[in-house]
Symmetry: C2
Subunit: 656 residues, 2 copies
C-alpha cells in the first residue's frame, strides 16, 4: 500500500523466486522498530520473541540466530518455541547469551516443516479411522528418501528402515502408518530436514553489549584540586575502593580560562586567587580539551592515576564538556567554529535562568562541522588512550543528536568498553533520545523525587516501561549543581535515606563529595546551589565524613547481593503508609527486601505486606544486612518501626 511496498511487490515479480510466504514481525526487544539497539551487559541472556506468520496450515519452525556484528562472524543458532500455539497465537520465543562487549545482531529464521505437517495429517487420519492412506504414504516415502540421502550413520539407518516398511505394500496400512509415526523417525528426519521457504527476519535486530559496569556501578565525584591534584587523588584510591566505589568522576581537568573568570559563589569578578570554574575550559598558551591544568599534575601523573585506579578496579571518569572559555585555543585557531554577533562579540552560554559568562558554546551549524566533529573525536580518543574508559558528558542535550550517535559509535568501534554518562536534565523524550542513540547511562530526575508516589511512579517507569531496554539510570544523590531541599531541610537522616534509596533502587548510583559529611548549606534559602561551592573555589577535602561507615556497608551489601545489581527486578511492596517505601529484588536465589522511611524527622510505623507470590514459605528467616539482626518474617503484614535517628531502613536478605 505504501510506496515502499509497491516497489517490493514489483521487485518480487521481476526476480525468480516468489516472495516469501512467511512474515516475521514485531520482534522484541527492539527500540523504535529497530532504529536503535537495545542495551545489555556481557553475560546477559537476551530473551527474544517475534510473530511468525504464514498463510495456510503448515507446520512452522523457527530459531533465533545471534552473533557479534563483526563481518564474517558466524551465526549461533538457538531454539525457539511457539509459546502461544494452544491459544492459536503466532508468538515464538527463545534466548541467547551475549558473551562479549560490542555490537551484536540477531534475527529469527523460520521455515516450513513438511514432514511434521505430513506426520500430523497421517496421525489425524489414522485417529479418524481412515483406511485408504496410499496417497499419504507415497508422499511420506518421497520425503523419507530425501531425508535418507541427507543423513548418515544411525539416522540414515533409522530413516532407511522406516522407508522400507512404509513402502511395503504387502503390509497393512496400520503397520505402515505405525512406522511413519514413531518418535525415532521423527527425530531422525527433523535432524536432517531441509528448511523449506527458510525466511530471515528483515531487518535484523541490534543489541549493544557493554561491560558489566554499565549496569552496576558506584560513583564518587570529586574535584581533584581539592584533594592535592592527581597524586593526592591517587592516595585516596585504597580507601575509595574499600568504600566500594568503582567509578571516580572528575570534573574537567583542563586549563581554565581567565577572561570573565567567575569568583566565589558565582560572582562576576574573580579575585587574583580564584581558580575559576573547571567547565570554563581552555587557556591560550596552555591548551584546551586535550590539555591538563598544570595545578593538577602532569600527563604522566594523570596516567599514573588511571592506572592505579584500574589496578583497584576503579574507573576514572572524565568530564566531556564541549564548550570553551574565551581563552580557549579554538577561538583563535578555529574562529569559524563560533557564532559571533553582528558587532563581532561572542555570546556567552545560557541555560535560563542560569548564565555562564565565562563559557562560550561552539556553533554546531558551522560549515566546518566535519572539522569540529573530528576534533572532538580526537580529543575523546586521546583520553581513551590515556586510560579513560568512562566519560560523564556535560549537557549533551545542547549538542546535535547525530553528533553523539556518530561519536559514540566511532569510539566504540575500537573501544567497546568505553561508557558514556549523559548529564541531561531536560525534556523526557530528549533524555530518552540520548540514551537510545548510545549513551550508556543517564542522569535522572531522582534528586527531585522524594515523595512515595513520585518514587514509585518514576522508578516503575524506568524499571518496567519502554526505557528499560535502553535507558540506564544513574541515581546521583547530589551534584555540584543540585542540593535538593530534602537534604537541606532533612538533616543527616535525609542523607542516609537518600543514599539508601539510590543504592538499593538502582544498580548504579553516585554521590558528590561532601554528601558523606551531610553538607547541606544552600547559597540562599530555596537555592539548589551550595554555599561556597567548590565549583568556584579551592577546598581542602578529605575522606572523613561521618557517613562513610554506612556508605561502606551499603556498597558491600550491593556487591554481595546480585539482586541489587539489576533494576528490572524491582517490585514494590505495600506498606499501608505514605511515609514508608518497601520493595523486593530477586535474582536467581538471591532475594532482598528493603523497607525504608521517607520521613527524616519523625518515627514511622508501617507494615511490609510480603506477597505470597514471592515464593516464600509462610514463615522465613531474614537477616538485616545493615544491623546484622535476624528476624522471623512471614507472608502478609510484618510490622516495622523506623526511627530516623536510629535506623532509616531494613535491608533484609532472605536466608535459605
Amino acid at each position: 500500500m505504501s510506496e515502499a511496498s509497491t516497489l517490493a511487490a514489483v521487485d518480487a515479480l521481476r526476480e525468480g523466486a516468489p516472495p516469501s510466504r512467511l512474515r516475521i514481525e514485531a520482534p522484541e526487544p527492539t527500540v523504535d522498530g529497530g532504529r536503535f539497539a537495545v542495551k545489555r551487559c556481557v553475560g546477559d541472556r537476551v530473551d527474544v520473541s517475534a510473530d511468525v506468520l504464514r498463510d495456510g496450515h503448515d507446520v512452522l519452525r523457527a530459531v533465533v540466530r545471534a552473533r557479534p556484528a563483526r563481518p564474517g562472524e558466524p551465526w549461533r543458532e538457538h531454539p525457539m518455541v511457539h509459546v502461544d500455539a494452544h491459544v492459536r497465537g503466532d508468538r515464538w520465543a527463545g534466548s541467547f547469551e551475549v558473551d562479549e562487549p560490542g555490537a551484536w545482531v540477531w534475527t529469527v529464521l523460520a521455515w516450513v516443516d513438511p514432514f511434521a505437517a505430513w506426520r500430523e495429517e497421517v496421525q489425524r487420519k489414522v485417529e479418524a479411522g481412515l483406511q485408504d492412506l496410499a496417497g499419504e504414504l507415497a508422499e511420506g516415502a518421497v520425503m523419507l528418501r530425501a531425508a535418507a540421502a541427507r543423513a548418515d550413520g544411525e539416522r540414515h539407518r533409522t530413516i532407511q528402515a522406516a522407508l522400507g516398511l512404509l513402502e511395503d505394500e504387502t503390509a497393512g496400512t496400520t503397520a505402515r502408518t505405525d512406522v511413519a509415526l514413531t518418535h525415532e523417525l521423527h527425530v531422525a528426519v527433523e535432524a536432517v530436514q531441509e528448511r523449506f521457504e527458510a525466511t530471515d527476519m528483515e531487518p535484523h535486530a541490534a543489541v549493544w553489549v557493554d561491560r558489566l559496569r554499565a549496569r552496576f556501578s558506584t560513583w564518587y565525584e570529586l574535584f581533584p584540586r581539592s584533594w592535592g591534584g592527581f597524586t593526592g587523588v591517587a592516595e585516596q584510591l585504597p580507601r575509595l575502593a574499600e568504600l566500594g566505589f568503582d567509578v571516580l568522576y572528575l570534573p574537567p581537568v583542563h586549563p581554565i580560562g581567565e577572561t570573565n573568570r567567575k569568583g566565589r559563589n558565582n560572582t562576576l569578578v574573580a579575585g587574583p586567587e580564584d581558580p575559576g570554574v573547571p567547565w570554563a575550559i581552555g587557556l591560550q598558551g596552555v591548551g584546551g580539551h586535550e590539555a591538563i591544568h598544570p595545578d593538577l599534575g602532569t600527563p604522566e601523573e594523570f596516567e599514573a592515576l588511571t592506572a592505579a585506579a584500574a589496578a583497584r578496579g576503579i574507573d576514572v571518569a572524565l568530564d566531556l564538556a564541549i564548550q570553551c572559555s574565551a581563552d580557549h585555543p579554538w577561538l583563535t585557531e578555529h574562529p569559524e567554529w563560533f557564532n559571533r554577533r553582528p558587532d563581532g562579540t561572542l555570546k556567552y552560554a545560557e541555560n535560563p535562568p542560569k548564565k555562564y559568562q565565562d563559557i562560550y558554546n561552539v556553533n554546531w551549524n558551522t560549515e566546518d562541522w566535519r572539522g569540529l566533529w573530528q576534533a572532538v573525536y580526537e580529543i575523546t580518543l586521546g583520553w581513551v588512550q590515556r586510560g579513560v574508559r568512562v566519560f560523564r558528558v556535560d549537557n549533551p542535550h545542547t549538542k546535535p543528536f547525530a553528533f553523539w550517535e556518530w561519536l559514540i559509535e566511532e569510539i566504540h568501534r575500537d573501544h567497546p568498553d568505553v561508557l558514556f554518562l549523559a548529564e541531561a536534565f531536560t525534556r523526557r523524550k530528549v533524555m530518552q533520545q540520548l540514551a537510545k542513540l548510545g549513551f550508556s547511562q543517564s542522569y535522572t530526575y531522582f534528586t527531585w523525587k522524594n515523595a512515595k508516589w513520585e518514587l514509585e511512579e518514576y522508578l516503575t517507569e524506568l524499571a518496567h516501561g519502554p526505557e528499560r531496554e535502553y535507558f540506564r539510570p544513574n541515581l546521583f544523590t547530589n551534584t555540584p549543581d543540585i542540593l535538593n531541599a530534602y537534604l537541606v531541610d532533612g538533616g543527616p537522616a535525609a542523607f542516609y535515606i537518600r543514599l539508601l534509596l539510590a543504592a538499593t533502587l538502582s544498580p548504579t548510583y553516585g554521590i558528590y563529595s561532601g554528601f558523606e559529611a551531610y553538607e547541606n548549606t544552600p547559597l540562599r534559602p530555596g537555592s539548589e546551589e551550595y554555599l561556597d561551592s567548590e565549583k568556584y573555589e579551592l577546598k581542602d577535602r578529605a575522606l572523613d565524613g561521618p557517613m562513610l561507615p554506612f556508605v561502606e556497608r551499603v556498597n558491600a551489601v550491593r556487591c554481595e547481593h546480585p539482586a541489587l545489581q539489576r533494576l528490572s527486578n524491582l517490585r514494590w511492596i505495600e506498606t499501608e503508609s505514605d511515609g514508608v517505601l518497601a520493595y523486593a529484588k530477586r535474582w536467581e536465589q538471591d532475594l532482598v527486601l528493603v523497607v525504608v522511611t521517607l520521613d527524616p524527622r519523625t518515627v514511622q510505623e508501617a507494615v511490609a505486606n510480603v506477597p505470597a507470590d514471592l515464593g516464600l514459605p509462610p514463615v522465613f528467616a531474614v537477616e538485616d544486612l545493615l544491623s546484622g539482626e535476624r528476624f522471623d518474617w512471614h507472608l502478609g503484614r510484618n510490622y516495622v518501626r523506623l526511627d530516623p535517628d536510629f535506623r532509616v531502613a531494613h535491608v533484609l536478605a532472605v536466608r535459605h
Copy 2:
C-alpha cells in the same frame, strides 16, 4: 548503533551539510511503524501527531503536509500545534482531510524559528530589567533586514519601519525593544520567515482512502440460483434497496465441476439433479473463474444486474475463490499450477475437520507463480470491467500474503473504488495481517460472541485497539457455513437480538438469506451447518421473511443516524445486568443510545446508567427509533424492561 545507522552517519560525513538536528519520530496514526497504510474514507479528517525533537532550546515550528500519492501532486500544508509544550513534552498535532479515494501520503515538516527565539530572549531580558541589549538588537536587525528582503506590501512596510526604530541608536533601549516585541512585527516576520534546518519526516506515512461504503455498508447474501438467476435477482433489487441493503453478495457464479460433485447435505455422491457447490469452480468446455454458469444467465444479464444494482446504489459483490474443481480448465491448461502426489493424484482441499473432495487448491509455490498471479489479476480485473466493485474473498488466509498485497494494489492502481472483504476465520494475527496488507473489510468472530463480556471485550478491541486503524469488521449474523447455536436455541427473538447487535454495534454488517425467516435447523445437533444447505441444492427463495419490516426499520435508522455509521465512537454504558448490553454512539450532533437484551428467552430488567460526561442535561427527551415512543431519560440510572417476545431493544435518539 545498528548497521543502518552507521551507514547514515558515514554518509552524512561524506555529504556537504551536517545531518539534521531535528528528529521527527513516533508519527501517529501508522501501522507497524509505517510498513502498512492506515485506512480512512473519503471526507474523513485524519488527526496526526508526532514527536519533534531538537537539541538545545531553540523555538521550533511544524506543519503536516499531505497529498494523494500520485507523482507530481503538490503538498497541502496544515498547521500543527505543540500540544504538550507546557508540560515539557515534544508532541505536535494537526490534521488534514482526505477528499478523494486512493493512496495518500503525509509527513511532518519541522524547522527552527530564530526570530521567535530571539523575540523570547529579548522579552526575558527586558522583563529581567537588563539595559545593555545592544548585541541582541544588532542580531535582531540582521534578521529583520533579511525578512524585509523577502516581504512585500504591508509586511515590507511593517518590517522596514521596525528596523528603522530598532537601529536608531538615539532612541532608548526600551523604545527599541518595544518595537521589537510588537505583535504586528511578529506576524509580518513569521509570514515570510525562512525555514531554518527544515526537516522532513522520513519515511512518509501512508493512508489508504476508500469510498464511504468501505466503512458503512449493509450486506445481503443470496445464491442467485435460488432466485431465478441474474434476471430473477435483478427483480429483487427494488425491494432490497427499500430494505436498506447496499451490497448484494453472490457466492461464485462460475461453472461448477462434475467430478466428485457433492450431493445434498455434503454427501459424497451427487444425484443427476444435484447442482453442486458453487465454490467447486470450473468445468471443461464451459470455463473457469472468468466464466458464468449457464444456468444463471448470460454475461450480458450479469452486466445488466450490476448496472441495475448500481442505479439503485447497490454494489454486487462477487466471490473471489481461487480454487478449482477437478474439471477446471486450468488443470489441463496449467498442470504446473497444481501439486500432484507421487502417484499422480491430486490432493483435495481440507480445512480440518472439513473436507472438500470436490475442490483442489492451486500450488502457490509453483515455478510459474508469476503466471498464476497474473491469471488471478486478469480474472479480477475482468469482473471489475463487468461492473463489480466489491469482492468477498474466500479463505484469503490460505494464499500468500504477498500475493494479496500485490493483487489489491494492482487493482487499486486504476480502480481505487474496489473493496475487498476477507473471509478469514483463523488466527487473530493472520486476520490482522490480511487487513493490514490491504483488505477493505474483514469477517469477524462476531457469530461466536454472544455473552455480554465477550461482546464488550471483542468490540472494544475492534473499536479502540490498534486494529481500529486498519481492520474494518463486517459483522455477519450468519453465513452459509455458520449457523450459531445461539440462533438454533434462541428462536426468533435470537434473530432480532443478533441483527440489532450487528447493525448498531458496527457500521458494516450483513445477513445471509434465510436469516429473515428465522432459518435455524442444523444438519445435526451441535453442527453449525444448515440442514439441507443451499450450498448443495437448489432452493426457491423469496424476500418474504417475517423479520423484514424490522430489518427495514433498523437499516433506515442506520442511514438516518451518522452516529451509527462509525465504529470508533462506540462507548459502553453500565446496565447492572449480565443480560442487557447498552452502548452510546455520538457523531457531531447525533447521539444514539442502544439498550439490548442478550436473553432471547426471558424478560430482563436492568438500568441504563447514562454517564454525565456524555454532555446531556440532567433530563433529556429520547425517541425510540424502533417503536416511535418518546420518553424522558435522565443522567444516571434509567429503568428498562426488555421482553424478547415484544421488544428486544431500545434504540434511542436523543432529541434536541
